[in-house]
Symmetry: C2
DNA sequence: CTAGTGCACTGGTCTGACCAGTAGGCTACG
DNA sequence: CGTAGCCTACTGGTCAGACCAGTGCACTAG
């Protein structure tokens, strides 16, 4: 128990070494989005590995959203800018295998969107407010399909105004997951028209509160709006859990 | 604009078809964690593809955290239970390439942990409270290394008590990312001892509030505790953004 | 009955080959 | 001289076959 503490050596596979090096280059900024990797045949020379190893490494990098390759492209794989699709993917998986309930998702957004709006009350600019107003106008004019997109634009503007990129990405991801889970149910809701009108009114109230700089009010409105919109699709006990957030 | 809207056909590669089928089997529950996939040579027969195609598909599934394969294992790849490592990975990438500041991460946790504690005030059981108390005891007794682990255990107990798995996972992930970013800086902090003692005291206050069922108080304490612990490592303007959450 | 050995299989890697597709230069035609 | 079309030299996607080191299990020798 006193000797040197040897760490268990895990067999590190060749393709992992390749992944590490390229990943490091991308995340450190040595490779910027839009740049191209060398071709697979060139990479196998540089790394001194077989092409299958290079290809498996590229598959992993592609699965992580760092790189994209296109057949026939005379340049190599393209370095991508960060996009939350991988986050969305893994969160969708979480939702499916961990059986996340719709209630948990709504609860999560009630928390995060309220926080975003609270921060936005301090940091919002006129441009942000204009974006939100434009999104609400779109919501009024839109059909059922466009409504969700306009709503997403509104909340994205709020999140950007709040200034926290992590909150912005997370709310966006969770909204996408929710849409994937319940869009059909929402579309068939008998009171959909009324819900949409009510939602629009709530959003306008939020804008007014933001303009007035009243963060707590805007946060309350946001939570209430979210609750009203989804409560009808939730079992009673989940509704109760959500009401815990409504003060 | 009136004709049939043809969708652009994306060339779907063979390995993607393999990924889809296996992924569907896992997420639908047809394959449960612990079960084994057939061997690669068996899969290439079942899917009528070459082994490299099978292997690339497995690499993708492995990158998504759904399976794991071990050399020499007479059984095939193992189906894994969901774990947030993939979420952690992509969020770490987000932090690096999007240059998430420490302040944004702290802010995020202030929001989510406060929400968790608010929910926990309603749903906590005696077992949960006992776990939290045990974690705080560990924090008192622990050295610098163990402190973080005990703190994590405390917050995990709170998050579980809150009953929202998504909040639980996200706080856990963000904490891990933060640790990766600032653990060295925290370890070298001159007032580390004092911070730790203060943190312990705050945690005990949170437990008391939870026992009393006072959610709003517990939430305030949580936000304050988080702020006090990290504020010293933040530039002034980020500190100001955090104070916006302290009422 | 146990300790030890071997075998049959696994995943990891490499080589070499072929295909379909792309981009860009080249050619031939207008 | 300009341009339309072809040609070639690449690309990534896929397959086949081979070898290696490692594993688990059945079998065997003690």
């Amino acid at each position: 128990m006193g000797g040197p503490r040897f760490e268990p050596v895990r067999a590190v596979r060749a393709y992992e070494r390749v992944v590490e090096q390229i990943e490091e280059a991308v995340e450190s900024g040595a490779l910027t989005p839009g740049e191209r990797l060398p071709s697979e045949r060139e990479l196998m020379v540089q790394f001194s590995v077989g092409r299958s190893t290079v290809r498996e490494a590229l598959r992993v990098l592609q699965a992580r959203g760092l790189v994209r390759s296109r057949p026939g492209d005379p340049n190599g794989a393209e370095v991508l800018p960060f996009s939350p699709v991988v986050l969305k993917k893994s969160m969708t998986t979480l939702a499916r295998v961990s059986e996340l309930s719709l209630g948990e998702l709504v609860q999560f957004r009630m928390v995060l969107d309220a926080a975003a709006v609270l921060l936005a009350a301090r940091l919002r600019t006129e441009e942000h407010l204009a974006e939100m107003a434009a999104a609400v106008d779109d919501m009024k004019a839109a059909d059922a399909a466009g409504f969700g997109a306009a709503d997403a634009a509104f909340h994205d503007a709020v999140a950007r105004a709040g200034g926290n990129k992590l909150i912005q990405v997370c709310t966006d991801v969770v909204r996408a997951v929710m849409v994937g889970l319940v869009e059909d149910r929402l579309a068939r809701a008998p009171d959909r028209e009324a819900l949409m009108r009510r939602s629009v009114a709530h959003h306008e109230d939020v804008i007014a509160a933001l303009r007035a700089g009243d963060g707590p009010l805007a946060a309350r409105l946001t939570r209430q709006s979210m609750y009203d919109y989804y409560a009808g699709h939730l079992p009673a006990e989940e509704r109760a859990a959500l009401r815990a957030l409504l003060e």
